[in-house]
Amino acid sequence: MSLHLISKKCPLCSKLSSGLKKLLSLFGFGLDCEGLNLRTYSSGERISEINSAAADCSCEKFRMSKHSPGVVENSENLALFVFLPMHNIDKNGKAKPNIFSHVHLKGRSVQRDTIASEAELVNFATNFLGDEAERVWKGVILAKCDDVRNIKLENSQNRSVCVYDTSEENNPAHAEIGQTQHIEEADKIELRHDLFVAFGNGNIIPPSTYKQGAIWQKLSIEHQSRL
């Protein structure tokens, strides 16, 4: 009997608590986005953990790192650097939608193209290429942050992804795209398609053209020769 009463009572408590949390989080109360970023950094379920603690992209409104130059603005451009062999490309030389599959679990890393300095982007590309001779920088795919944040599944009013400012010490222009809690299993593939469209249908801007070749020209001869 007492169990029955408890089970009847709990859903209401839970709803109230959840509603209160949402209201508070709108104003930043109870949210520790920097701490959340650090705690989930190495987790294979990072995105769902962020969604559990800060639903509906609450942490977009706050810096998630002490290295951050500020939250990601809607007006910014996002650049996804395409490297071989990890980002395999199709027979027409375009990126494939699997490049976005990290949005479901750990977060899709991108660079904040609008605010990143040339030196930061050169440093980022150089670090990723490293000493492994098979690693090649093929170029970038670009999207407007606003377009990415406005992605909604068909017949849904809910946003599909969040764009977080997750700066790193050696890469201040680092940001991450993660799916929201509204994405279910059957929605994931549609989401990859929507991101693919937002990022120019996978059309890769070659290094020699991206920022008028400014980043490319500052790479080492050895890194350039891999293309």
Partner: protein, 188 residues
């Protein structure tokens, strides 16, 4: 003397035909299972060799015949896709340098089964490996965009856009027959 040459040529022909029943498949690691060879390929290969008597008669050593055989047996598109899918089985966790999960053997097996069930390979899919370790197949041709993910538990997830119409879902895949819904949406 001429009789002796004819005997040699006949012997070479015999050897050549004998080897036709077990050609090797290129570009696929030996550890992987050999795919079934299309029968029509064998028929055309056999008839080509049988009608190529001038070449056989002038061949100086058996190696020439074997080289000729290899050039006639190209790896099929489906075999190439299957080869790529199976090679992923050799990858470890973090294969993309961004923390991806190791490839799922069950998901790869499901994808291989699916490719073998494709009748019309004139518009071949592109294989993809996802950060989750799942295998997927992808088409982006003219009015067709299709992404099929093999969930590794006997189910397929799909999103298909054809002529502007969107379709998505998750359903069971028995690996024995092509799911009717995908047959209709992709090869309509």
């Amino acid at each position: 003397m001429s009789t002796s040459l004819s005997t040699v040529a006949a012997a070479k022909l015999f050897v050549a035909i004998g080897t036709l029943t077990s050609p090797t498949v290129s570009n696929i690691p030996e550890i992987l299972e050999q795919p079934t060879r299309p029968v029509e390929r064998l028929t055309s290969l056999a008839s080509s060799v049988l009608t190529a008597s001038p070449l056989l008669a002038t061949a100086s050593v058996n190696d020439d015949i074997f080289e000729y055989d290899k050039s006639l047996r190209q790896t099929t598109v489906a075999e190439k896709i299957v080869g790529e899918l199976r090679q992923w089985g050799l990858l470890q966790a973090d294969w993309d340098g961004e923390g991806a999960s190791p490839p799922s053997a069950e998901s790869i097996k499901e994808a291989v089964s699916f490719v073998k069930l494709i009748d019309d390979i004139t518009t071949p899919p592109e294989p993809m490996l996802l950060a989750s370790g799942h295998a997927a197949l992808y088409w982006n041709i003219d009015n067709l965009y299709a992404d099929i993910e093999f969930l590794g538990d006997g189910r397929i997830g799909y999103f298909i856009k054809r002529n502007g119409d969107k379709h998505k879902g998750v359903f069971a895949f028995n690996q024995q027959e092509m799911p009717a819904v995908l047959q209709a949406l992709i090869w309509a």
